[in-house]
Symmetry: C2
Subunit: 348 residues, 2 copies
Amino acid sequence: MNLIQTKLSKLLSTAAAALLASSIANAGILPKAALTPADNLTTAEKVELGKQLFFDPRLSFDGTISCNSCHNIMSSGTDNRATSSGISGRRGVRSAPTIWNAAFLTALSWDGRAATLEEQAKEPPLDPLQMGMPSEAAVVERLNAIPAYVAQFKTAFGDKDAVSYDNMAKAIAAFERTLITPNSPHDRFLAGEKTAMSEQALRGKKVFEQSGCNTCHSGTNFAGPSLPIGQGFYQRFPSYSSEYNKKYDLSSDKGRYEVTKVKKDMNRWRVPSLRNVALTAPYFHNGSASTLDEAVRVMAKTQLNLKLSEQRVSDIVAFLESLNGELPKINMPRLPGTINNSLVSNMK
Amino acid sequence: MNLIQTKLSKLLSTAAAALLASSIANAGILPKAALTPADNLTTAEKVELGKQLFFDPRLSFDGTISCNSCHNIMSSGTDNRATSSGISGRRGVRSAPTIWNAAFLTALSWDGRAATLEEQAKEPPLDPLQMGMPSEAAVVERLNAIPAYVAQFKTAFGDKDAVSYDNMAKAIAAFERTLITPNSPHDRFLAGEKTAMSEQALRGKKVFEQSGCNTCHSGTNFAGPSLPIGQGFYQRFPSYSSEYNKKYDLSSDKGRYEVTKVKKDMNRWRVPSLRNVALTAPYFHNGSASTLDEAVRVMAKTQLNLKLSEQRVSDIVAFLESLNGELPKINMPRLPGTINNSLVSNMK
């Protein structure tokens, strides 16, 4: 292990450290399980509760939006929209990233503002453009009004202060750590199954690597090198100017600069994962590119100053399709009811 | 069998007729399976496809609303809102009825305008206030753009014209016929389990029957007598005038009159099922009553001209809670993707 990995492993449980070591041994292949923070070890009770909360629209003010509304794990882990639709049809300015394999990211959100899944899970309920709850206390009050949830929080977190905003986020994060899509054709190829990828996908892999796409889209998640939790891997986008800047409005959102207000972060973005990318159209932080082939053209030009032939574009697309993994089977959660009244009944 | 039942059974398959006979034998107890129309026999392939379609937000114009958005089968089969929220936060004027056990209704929607689940399923995708698709053709075009769906429609309906609006509705209806919640405490009580209901629920049952609530809320679904498919059981609401008319705006929506334009149908409504009613707050066609106890007070006054004591109200509520059934376990569907592009990507 290098210094960063040694430092990281101190933050993690022993089991997690073993996993870390195994993921290094299999560099490039998606691990079957994600690292778990020492202060939120994964348990079956937390995962089940987290799944219910992930699907529960009562975490939104008017009972219309759940985590799954924008990160749909029945399909791509996104809503496949340019930007998402929150309560009352309110719209944000950025495209929802996929939740699949987010467990392997060291910083969340397009601008890396959340260090962990736990931290990220606390944002959408309170965002007026997303779920619109007025306060953490209002969320906790609502959870406390659902008797079966109170019992489940106690089982998962112990009797003292079981129902809390932090524990809600911990349960959701524990569930999200199970959202892993292993065995993509490319993973199977790396594991030795030589026929797992098509000829075209193999050609695309070569073009992808020779063109330098993997300078940034490297590592297990094709989202950059392994970094300590909380440290994102950022790049300027666009790096080269072209007709695409205006066409897709690539520069008006300042990206990470909006978080840090440091000039060097202007138009810098967390490098997104390419796993399952063929399923997550439309593309870029603003969802401005409708198709994957166009996204490949734009990235080649704006990041590498390359104009790719159409053959190379479609070879790369074939390679990217080979990064689609297997979606795990999941039982539908049951959202516990409230007898006699509705928690969202008076919100017209 | 009486004349109506004999007539009905001619419309049904042999298996369905056997079921009908068994449901008559067990009058009051919810059958484990629903009658199936002869032109849409239930198959595993249809049910699976119907489940996917039921959860697929691509049936809505902007990819935000699925059948499940308003008829949430992770919980009460409703959205627990006064009125539902469609695309872009558009609002209708009536409360979404539960989809649980709708398979046993002979007319659907508050005003009975749909005779069958198949007919009902064709409405929301084209309703501008709900899913907002511009035409049946636009829905079919979108389904045809999802390769795995095309294959599944062929398996379920044969090769010829497999992907059609009618077949979409048939698949959804086939799935909906499986949405049955058996073994409520009241059902178990009727089946001979004498301790299945609490003392209070048993008292409530007596009050419910002696007060005459079961004049309308009769039969297997507590939604009226057995009738041929397409024939709804309607009642005027409110029947007696009271302070509640104004308080809950009970009369401004003309109900069935809006469908038939016949004067006798003014303010008449399909008698709703009481199964799982304790979970489906808020109440009435406009969702104006927030709690079940208040709904009981209002119904007693407006329909029976009775002012119930608070003890009797809470006894009836306890009885109604005993009509909550067991929600079946369901595997989460997988919504097939479209490689390279999103069908809803350009709908900002």
